[in-house]
């Protein structure tokens, strides 16, 4: 029963990262690195020696594995190009999010393990952002779950096709903000910085090097693609194999196009904004929380 859709996420997630970077570069008037650059980065990191802090305990060694594997396990729960056969037929969205949270839990702990202020700072901020993002994301998902009558991703993907109800529009807006926050992008976090004052994700990973860093980075790419895929399943699943529309054989094409669209939207959103000061985040994320709350109320009132 276990099918291999998740390999798509495992193998193509660095490519998606490369594409986003490329579009970002274009929209900022740069040429940018090739779309395959993230692959080369990973290969380079896997080939390097590691430097590990003497202060660090076994948690520091375990965290890259647990982070990577939790994202991998979560990838198995999501319908990528076909609604059939996600992890033994059970792709539950709540289980998916909490499996991802397991990875984050250990990543944040690893930030505290080396005993530096940078790591602690990154961890503290990541935990705070999670507090603001998770409920909002969960509410947006509840709203789609009520509309679709299930929390199983396959069922939800079958029930949507293309978002059409006002509740879905609101939920999508909230979910998009959650995507930005969860993937560590501007205006929440800056993925390209190593400046102490602004970094969140990079701060936690500061002590990592070599293959551990490669695992962490790869996990981050996968998480990004995974969440994009969840967004596709929840809001525009049109053309997914096993659904009512389109040819099953074309579903990879549909999927690729939808990913490209999301990648472009993300790149443009990132280029057109400045990073927010950390304590201005609540207004952005709180706003999205209100959107998802409205979405819930809409779905209750209208249907």
């Amino acid at each position: 029963m276990l099918d291999l859709q998740f390999l798509i996420i495992l193998l193509f997630s660095p490519l998606l990262q490369g594409i986003i970077k490329k579009i970002k570069a274009w929209s900022q008037g740069r040429v940018g690195a090739g779309v395959l650059q993230p692959y080369w980065d990973l290969v380079r990191l896997f080939r390097k020696d590691m430097v590990i802090s003497k202060t660090a305990s076994w948690v520091f060694h375990a965290a890259p594995f647990i982070t990577f594997l939790s994202v991998l396990a979560a990838s198995m729960m999501v319908p990528v190009i076909s609604v059939k056969g996600t992890i033994f037929g059970m792709g539950d969205i709540i289980a998916l999010l909490y499996t991802l949270a397991l990875g984050r839990f250990f990543m944040v702990l690893a930030g505290l393990d080396a005993g530096t202020a940078f790591g602690g700072e990154g961890s503290s901020r990541e935990a705070t952002v999670a507090i603001l993002v998770e409920p909002m994301m969960m509410l947006a998902i509840f709203s789609t779950a009520i509309a679709g009558g299930s929390t199983s991703l396959s069922k939800l993907a079958l029930s949507v096709d293309i978002f059409h109800s006002p509740a879905h529009v609101l939920a999508l807006a909230a979910f998009f903000v959650a995507l930005i926050a969860e993937t560590g992008r501007i205006p929440v976090d800056n993925p390209d910085t190593h400046l102490e004052l602004t970094m969140i994700h990079e701060g936690m990973l500061l002590e990592y090097s070599g293959r551990y860093l490669a695992l962490m980075e790869w996990a981050h790419y996968m998480k990004q693609m995974l969440l994009f895929t969840v967004a596709i399943d929840l809001f525009f699943s049109y053309g997914i194999a096993g659904g009512g529309h389109g040819f099953a054989a074309l579903s990879p094409l549909y999927y690729a196009l939808k990913l490209l669209f999301l990648a472009a939207a993300m790149a443009v959103a990132e280029s057109s904004r400045a990073k927010l000061r950390f304590f201005q985040l609540p207004s952005l994320l709180g706003g999205a929380f209100v959107l998802s709350l409205l979405s819930i109320i809409t779905v209750i009132m209208l249907g």
Partner: protein
Amino acid sequence: MEPGNLFLLSGIGLFIAGTVLFSIAPGRWLNMLYGLFAAGSVLAGLYSLGLIMPSAQPSPVYVFPVSGFLELAFQGNPLSGYFSLLLSVLGAAVSVYSIGYMKGAEGPRFQGIFYGLFLLSLYAVFFSSNIVAFLVAWEAMSLLSFFLVVSDTRDEEAQAAGITYATMTHIGTAFIIAAFMAGYALTGSLDFQGIRAGLAARPEWVRSLLFVLSFIGFGMKAGIVPLHIWLPRAHPAAPSNVSALMSGVMIKAGLYGMIMMGIGVLGGNVAWWGILALVAGGVSSVMGILYALMARDIKRLLAYSSVENIGIMLLGFGASIMFYSFHLPALAGIALAACLCHAMNHAVFKGMLFMGAGSVMHAVHSKNMEEMGGLLKKMPWTGLFFLVGAVSICALPPFNGFVSEWLTFQSLVLGSQTPAAYSKVISLLGGAALALTGAFAAAAFIKAFGISFLGMPRHERAEHAKEAGFPMTAAMGALALLCLLLGVYPGLLLGLISRIPLGGLSAVSPLSFSLAPVSIAGGFSGFWPAAILSAMLLGFLIVFVLIKTAGASKKTVYADSWDCGIRALTPRMQYTATAFTKPVRVIFKSIYLPRREIRISYRQKPFFAREITYRSDITPFIESYIYRPLLSAVHWTAHKIRHLQSGSLHLYLGYIMITLITLLLIWG
């Protein structure tokens, strides 16, 4: 005699033998006597299992006449069997832990006797089948735990906490007595079954009154907000083995009371009772975890997190009543299963966490997390088990917390299938509260583990910490394994829960589960924790082999942490627990109302400071804005009434005369 009853009687016998031996045995061997309590718990646990099993005959009633028509009656049923199983699991582990923990403790005889009796009184609460027995057991439980809380006579904070606890718990008991007396007055029966039968014909408002009274009374013991203020004081003040029992089991006695009264006796079929419980649950879970996040005292953090978890259980309980009142018994079953499942899971991991905190306190002689740090290297086993507990309580798969939290989420989302708009909105807001709680809990327990166990030691004593002894780590290890087992095979626990009938309500009925996967009938959803775990294990093997073969020639260098070139990172430069939560304190300042006080004394103003004192604290919202005004109102009234008591004989004679005349005017 039936084997089941033999288990019960010999279990009780062991408890009594234990308490007696505590008063006469030689001092050196006292801590070993906790082994008797462990054995007694195991036997009582076997009896409890028998109560839940389907083939069980109606269990025998044990009646002890007191005087006239007053009698103490005890009878087990599946629900009480489940709760006493919960008690037995934790009681056995904590008793084994106590063998190590109480070694060389002060006042060992007193501690041991009260500990044993406390366990017994908890069993009595779960097994009592009439009002009198219940109240006696309840009061014994409260008093014995009070004495254990104040057992450290030199700790003034513990003494104050004890007073708060005693006051609050007795106010709660008053409400319970009121509810029970009303039940007796209306039906003429002392027996819970009799009251149930007698009340069935009564109008709804009578039952509602009883529900509210018992909800407040039991809610006080369960620690729901705003009745919780004693809990974060009393639980940390007790010795850690007792804290584990108080947070792991005693608050569930409150929950048991609510379920037994609310659903078992009163029928549980009025929608707004469910709404009340849902609102109380949502508020408790969010407020509890908000304050847990800010705690610097590791046991206080755990105690506040108990408030949060009782809130999660109430979400399930409330949803269950709400569904039942809308004639959706299938959904009510899922919600009640979520509640019961979380009660057991919470007992397992919270007990373990309190034991871990106790081991840490033994090692570093402080409850303050700012004085710990780096303990994982000094106490590897305690650290590992504390981490397992932290992961479980944050509801991360594949550990047990996730199973019950997933079920709670499902029942709240299914709230959208109720007919009324208000119930839909409330249950989804409950879902939002639960989601918020999840993220906060992760932050709180990352802090609890990360600040205490990771990084560099922040204090000399943490540097010289030693691992806890074998019985202590063994007890924690057993519970850690249980966390994993119940997480990977949720069917073990759900199978038990499915056998608990409650009035017309059977928990779990539409939940289909085999040993490993769980799913909700009608295809709403499902998940399979064993598959998640095995996928991760398989993935680990592959990644590990890949890394080992690809990176075989690569070196790993151990060096200092990156220090920006200053060459001397000190423990004081690490993030502290206070610093870790600073962003949250700033963002939620309208709830926390943080206070900050900086005092600088100068040698030469303004450049040469002699001393800078910095104090930062948060204002406990509920204490300051509900209890303090209430207390001052009571004081004010008392002050005014005092004028009546002038001490003058003439005035008192005047009072008597006025009273007489008034009485004569009324009845004359």
